[in-house]
């Protein structure tokens, strides 16, 4: 897709002035990535409720017109996303529709690898896209860690970043950190890896502070807890540049409605609490939240009351500096490609927005090409 197509599709994709890139990286601005593991159903998240085709494709699991939270005359949110409405009304929530990439891969593992590494569909890269940006433009040494994965087992976009850690809870981390003792030299990649992890622990433990408390209440459950930890990390002045959270269970092949309702409720409740806590900590204006997932789901519901793996999907961008509104292009259910949605926005445009627009880090090298950032941030 070229630039003319973008404008024709009604997308305000403008290139950030090159001058902005000359500044030093603004890693005081925090990036929080939220992975919706399993592939979130974009069409039942951001619902094209005026489109008759939507209800033809989803006679059983479609969200009824009366139930959607209308954003305009054709687009509405799943009712479980109600906690996000205050952000929408405050103009701090951008919704990007039709995010995907050329040559979509419908395997969970391969597609999330593509998203995590920002590779082309036919290319394998060893490092995460954020890790690559960090290696070109290092996070200042006084930061506790470059990136933190909260509660997950894989490092995702931070894979390969030597100054990134994963932790379940800061208190526990600090108590246990004394057991880390990087000793000796690596002899093979397995030992190198262990020694790197040990060194990262020692470094982060010297700087992390787990003492922050909030009056904001966090939703119960693993995601609410992860949000609390993210807020604690964000509030810490010795800081981190990027945090990755994840919410799992979106692979709704069967009996989707109940499961999806619960998951979207957890997501919206968690993000609303995140805003509350970061406003308390005076970090909301310097935080950018992006959701992502390996893919959306097939427009046609399946026989098991669920949806199979699809392609393009809608994603949320939130923060005190976000220009709220609808971006990208509404789903074209009349113009599917082998039963799946065509993408309108390349996911690397979202990444370029984070790298260039948010951090002021040149994105071309980290993303291996020029992807136009979205005009989604206020100056």
């Amino acid at each position: 897709m070229n630039r003319r197509d973008f404008l024709a599709a009604g997308i305000g994709a403008l290139v950030i002035p090159v001058a902005a890139l000359a500044q030093s990286p603004g890693y005081r601005r925090l990036l929080i990535l939220v992975e919706l593991k399993g592939g979130n159903d974009g069409l039942n998240t951001v619902v094209p409720y005026a489109d008759e085709l939507y209800y033809q494709l989803r006679p059983r699991i479609g969200i009824r017109r009366d139930d959607v939270l209308a954003l305009d005359r054709r687009t509405g949110l799943h009712p479980a996303l109600k906690p996000l409405m205050p952000l929408w009304e405050a103009g701090e929530l951008a919704i990007v529709q039709g995010v995907g990439y050329p040559g979509p891969n419908l395997s969970h593992f391969r597609s999330i690898e593509i998203w995590d590494t920002a590779s082309r569909s036919d290319q394998y890269l060893p490092e995460g896209w954020v890790a690559r940006a960090f290696s070109g433009h290092p996070v200042p040494a006084q930061f506790a860690a470059a990136g933190v994965v909260v509660g997950g087992s894989d490092m995702g976009p931070l894979a390969g970043s030597m100054r990134s850690i994963s932790l379940a809870a800061p208190e526990v981390f600090l108590r246990q950190a004394r057991l880390a003792n990087p000793m000796g030299k690596g002899r093979n990649s397995a030992l190198d890896h262990i020694l790197k992890v040990e060194a990262g622990i020692v470094e982060a433990a010297a700087r992390l502070d787990a003492g922050v408390r909030f009056t904001t209440e966090f939703p119960r459950g693993a995601f609410g807890n992860a949000v609390r930890i993210a807020a604690q990390l964000a509030a810490n002045p010795s800081g981190v540049a990027a945090i990755r959270l994840s919410l799992g269970g979106f692979d709704t092949h069967q009996n989707q409605p109940g499961v999806h309702q619960r998951l979207l409720g957890e997501l919206a409740g968690g993000l609303a609490a995140l805003k509350g806590a970061l406003v308390e900590a005076k970090r909301w204006d310097s935080t950018l939240v992006l959701t992502y997932a390996e893919f959306g789901r097939r427009p046609q519901e399946n026989y098991s009351n669920g949806t199979d793996h699809g392609t393009a999907s809608a994603h949320f961008v939130a923060g005190g500096h976000v220009k709220g509104g609808l971006y990208g292009a509404p789903p074209r259910l009349d113009n599917l490609d082998g039963g799946n949605l065509r993408h309108a926005v390349d996911f690397r445009q979202l990444y370029a927005t984070a790298l260039e627009g948010w951090w002021g880090v040149p994105a071309t090298k980290a993303l291996q090409g020029r992807f136009a950032p979205l005009e989604i941030l206020r100056a």
């Binding site: 399993g38 395997s107 994963s166 932790l167 057991l179 880390a180 000796g184 030299k185 002899r187 026989y303």
Partner: protein
Amino acid sequence: MGPADARHLLNRTGFDAQLREIDAFAALSRREAVERLLAEARTEARTPRPAWAKEWTDPRLIRQMSETERQAFVRVQIERGLELKAWWLREMLGTDSPLTERMTLFWHNHFTSGLQKVRSPALMLRQNALLRRHALGNFGELLQAVSKDPAMLVYLDSATSAREEPNENFAREVMELFTLGEGNYSEQDIKQAARAFTGWSIDLETGEFRFRYLRHDYGKKTVLGRSADTGEEVLDILLAQPATAEFIARKLWREFVSPEPPPDELARVASVLRESRYDVRAAMHALMLTPAFWAPENRAALIKSPAELVVGTLRQFGIAVNDPLPFAFLLAGLGQDLFAPPNVKGWPGGEAWINSTTLLARKQFLERLLRVDETRMVMQKAMPRLKPGARRVLQAMAELQFSGSEWLASFEGRERMVPLVMLAAEPAGNPSGSGVEYLRTLLADPVYQLK
């Protein structure tokens, strides 16, 4: 072959061995040792199966239950799920055929299914028995059997797939993860294969496989350029592809030899697999006798999985475990929740086992183990403040009887063998001190995390 080779063979293909086991193998040649391991491999667990192993509740009955009945039913299933994990750990801790358990784990991580979706511990147990029975048997037979295994039919949605709208989940994963590997098939092949598997379902009354012919798509299908009618034929087409033997050989290599197989050696193991018509025992025989398996540069080149670390440590120190369940919680905390892999791709393993959270949890387990005697009182005091899961782990740790000095004394003057028994290669640091303090520095050494 000597004790160093014996240790390597036993620990790479099983769980960390004790000195007497190493001694027993040290006198054999490599070939004799490999053949003995393969000849003595079990196909059935020695731990008696839980009483509920054959129970099945018709899902239609579950749907008719009142809310209270349903909640009670779910609680029983959750309790059985925990018993199931403990049951497998007990088998791993006590088995005289560690290779069988390692292979069963390998297949569990290959033909993944998980309690999160299957929900029936009994079906997961049956699948586990199937994997163990074929663990060193024929891969083709295993593929055919596991594709009709009830837990798998639920896990990858075959059970609810029908010709009107075939569910592609199983068709995709059987190609991507079970046989060919990514890049060796097209989206069209998946759509076609999904049609062939329609009708593969479960008998709601018995929980056994049942072919629902009314749901089957009897039309012509073409998969990888060959025509097929039935699901069985599709699986045969997949087995006939050279990519499948190579995919399985590569995965075995990464589990047992080194992170990256040299192409020519991989091709040799793959050809053994293909020419033996997928005899896993023959492939393992070839794998364990390849020079790379024994090469010094490949020792301590793989990261122990949580099960290998925990079960291996308990076995190596000869520690009796009354209640294995807390160690199942421990494994979950280390990233390997048995019968509940994160997704159909299984645990990624290798370096992904170790991040700051899991490395610290591993070290904490090892440190506590050596301090059980001195910290029993502290642990008991801490317990009331902990969540039930964490409390049970600590309780089990407090119940363990382990004395480092007695263990050292069992070497009877051969203490120079201690680092050889405990570490897969020279330590990375400088182990120092004597007695239990020396053991502590060996356990804290990063090389202890390697196999």
